[in-house]
């Protein structure tokens, strides 16, 4: 128990430190003292605005998105008993993106509508994947590997739908949609944050509440059933919840892959196996990971920014391949 406490302190400290570093770093140099006073609302109005309206909402959104993806990935990896599962690879993010891009194509600018469209898309993608896995599987909820494969194919299908939706869009819309599909927290604003914070908090709460069931599902279908879990309905419920958690991140920040893949592994490497602490830890580590990826995205090549999803993919793909080798 003693060493566990240290893990939590370390995760919390790293997250806090990264948030502070990120707040103090940008193309405009703002000394630490001014950052602190700007946070309190005093000092030069422009500096206050940069800290409070540009950097802070961005960091908060990065943290929320990272936490959502990390938790979603943990739940999916546990439920599917597959260390390679994550919302991006399962087609969940792709489905959400289809919903959002269709909303864009109809000129929707309201955050709420785009979020709802993303939820609908993610929901359809999940149902499709479950149907395919069930049709292919022998019994019950189907083979988790089939589900993973179905997810990958549905992701490819989602991509095709997006390309078709964008084929005849005006150049600036295409550039905007592509940018969004590559993931970014650059357009974060205080007005939109309560929505995503609410969705992530709700999803996180329910996942933590059902964490014991994930523990049992992770043992395998038969042991779980023997221990009194209604395997099919329980797995479906958690899968859907993880999908909605991922969809809310997609609605807020576009497609950010591989965070949901890497984060649970990092937390498990710290010796945390039970899903309740694992999900909480994945939230903290995910937040820290996306905050640092975004810090890189906005400082590596000024005056422009790198797409956040590309930065996480550059980090994530080698990790994915290493995991694949380990599991093979």
């Amino acid at each position: 128990m003693h060493h566990r406490a240290w893990h939590w302190i370390a995760m919390g400290a790293v997250l806090a430190a990264l948030a502070v570093i990120s707040l103090g770093t940008g193309v405009i140099h703002i000394p630490a003292g001014e950052v602190v006073s700007a946070l309190q609302g005093s000092g030069d109005a422009a500096t206050v605005s940069i800290i409070r309206n540009l950097r802070l909402p961005r960091i908060v959104l990065a943290a929320l998105v990272g936490a959502g993806l990390g938790m979603s990935g943990s739940a999916l990896q546990g439920t599917l008993r597959n260390g390679l599962a994550e919302p991006y690879l399962l087609g969940v993010s792709g489905g959400a993106a289809v919903g959002a891009v269709i909303a864009f194509a109809f000129n929707a600018t309201n955050d709420g509508i785009i979020a709802l469209a993303a939820f609908a898309g993610a929901g359809v993608a999940v149902l499709l994947a479950l149907l395919v896995a069930r049709a292919a599987g022998r019994a019950g909820r189907g083979d988790p590997r089939t589900l993973l494969m179905a997810g990958v194919v549905i992701g490819a299908f989602a991509n095709a739908v997006i390309m078709i939706a964008l084929a005849n869009a005006p150049p600036n819309t295409i550039r905007g949609a592509l940018w969004w599909m590559m993931g970014s927290v650059a357009d974060s604003s205080w007005a939109a944050l309560p929505w995503i914070a609410g969705f992530i908090a709700l999803g996180a709460g329910l996942l933590i509440y059902w964490a014991r069931e994930i523990d049992l599902l992770a043992l395998g279908d038969e042991p779980a059933a023997a221990l009194g879990v209604n395997v099919e309905s329980s797995a479906r419920r958690i899968y859907l919840l993880a999908a909605l958690l991922a969809a809310s991140t997609v609605a807020a920040a576009g497609l950010i892959g591989f965070v949901g893949l890497i984060v649970p592994h990092i937390v498990r490497a710290a010796g945390i196996r039970n899903h309740r602490p694992l999900i909480v830890g994945a939230g903290l580590v995910g937040a820290a990971l996306v905050i640092s990826a975004d810090l890189a995205a906005r400082t590596i090549r000024p005056p422009g920014e790198l797409p956040l999803g590309a930065v996480t993919a550059v980090l994530g793909v080698p990790f994915f391949l290493a995991q694949l080798r380990k599991s093979a």
């Binding site: 605005s49 940069i50 309206n53 540009l54 940018w179 650059a186 604003s189 000024p302 005056p303």
Partner: protein, 292 residues
């Protein structure tokens, strides 16, 4: 006809000092390196670039246009011309379907294959990379020549050039306020040195804060714009509404002090016949006291 050819030759001789001309003796080539072929005046023209569509109307050949891109909506009469879709990677079959005898393309890498395919099909092509103001002068003279009306091509180029010179002369001695041109909000896109819009700002008596960036339309971060602290923000009507209601822009001095200049995107949107008008309108916005 013969007479026109003669005038064309004279004008050609007069314009060979142009820096863009190929080495002497070799046939003149377009921006894809394809030889420029001047045959009898084309009767069925497809223009796959909004700037050349506008130009062809100015050259009095609008009635010979049989195809345009989806985005060519100026002048108003262009809307009546058949919409052939995108001007980048165009649908070659659709282009051939309107039986053109001249197709004018924007010379970007994406269009290289289309130009070759059209030439293979026996259709004359002219591929021009019109990014800068000088490119427009060249386009006007060259297209005029192909249309068998070099005189008019030269007149259009000259009149734009004269207007721009006049605007430059009036702004020369004035202060040069810094300008951020807001093209698009997500991602935030502006203009760099590679764009005619950068030249328009300079001629109008301003200084583009991203004039040091080589690209045509670089994506930049808001924080970097705040750092460069432009005196003015130029944008279209939509862009100005977006900036005004976005809290991230609220403390930018240009926004706080209402120095957002709204330009008519119909005038400044293409490097074409309205370049002079565009520079003039921007100059008036940048220097209201001195020029109005």
């Amino acid at each position: 006809m013969l007479h026109k050819r003669f005038v064309a030759l004279l004008l050609l001789a007069a314009t060979t000092s142009c820096a863009r001309d190929a080495t002497q003796g070799a046939p003149e080539a377009d921006d894809f390196g394809d030889p420029i072929i001047v045959r009898s005046a084309p009767r069925r023209i497809v223009s796959l670039n909004p700037a050349t569509t506008d130009l062809i109307f100015a050259l009095g050949a609008g009635d010979r246009l049989v195809g345009r891109t989806h985005w060519d909506v100026y002048p108003e009469a262009a809307k009546a011309v058949r919409d052939l879709g995108s001007g980048i990677r165009p649908n070659v079959e659709a282009v051939l379907g309107v039986r053109p005898d001249l197709v004018i393309l924007y010379a970007s890498k994406d269009n290289r294959a289309a130009a070759s395919e059209l030439r293979t099909a026996g259709v004359n092509t002219l591929s021009l990379k019109i990014d800068h103001i000088a490119d427009f002068y060249y386009a006007s003279r060259t297209i005029g020549r192909l249309l068998g009306d070099s005189a008019r091509g030269a007149i259009v180029a000259d009149s734009v050039e004269r207007t721009l010179k006049r605007v430059r002369a009036t702004t020369q001695s004035l202060d040069k306020p810094t300008v951020f041109w807001h093209i698009w909000d997500a991602p935030l896109i502006t203009i760099g040195r590679g764009s005619y819009m950068n030249e328009l700002i300079e001629i109008a008596g301003g200084r583009n804060i991203y004039g040091d960036v080589d690209q045509t339309s670089p994506a930049v971060s808001i924080e970097d714009v705040l750092k460069r602290n432009p005196r003015y923000i130029i944008t279209g009507p939509e862009g100005s509404l977006k900036i005004m209601k976005d809290p991230r822009w609220s403390e930018a001095p240009a926004v706080r002090d209402r120095r957002i200049l709204v330009v008519d995107t119909a005038i400044v949107g293409r490097p074409s016949v309205r370049l002079g008008e565009a520079a003039e309108s921007i100059a008036r916005l940048l220097h209201p006291k001195e020029l109005n």
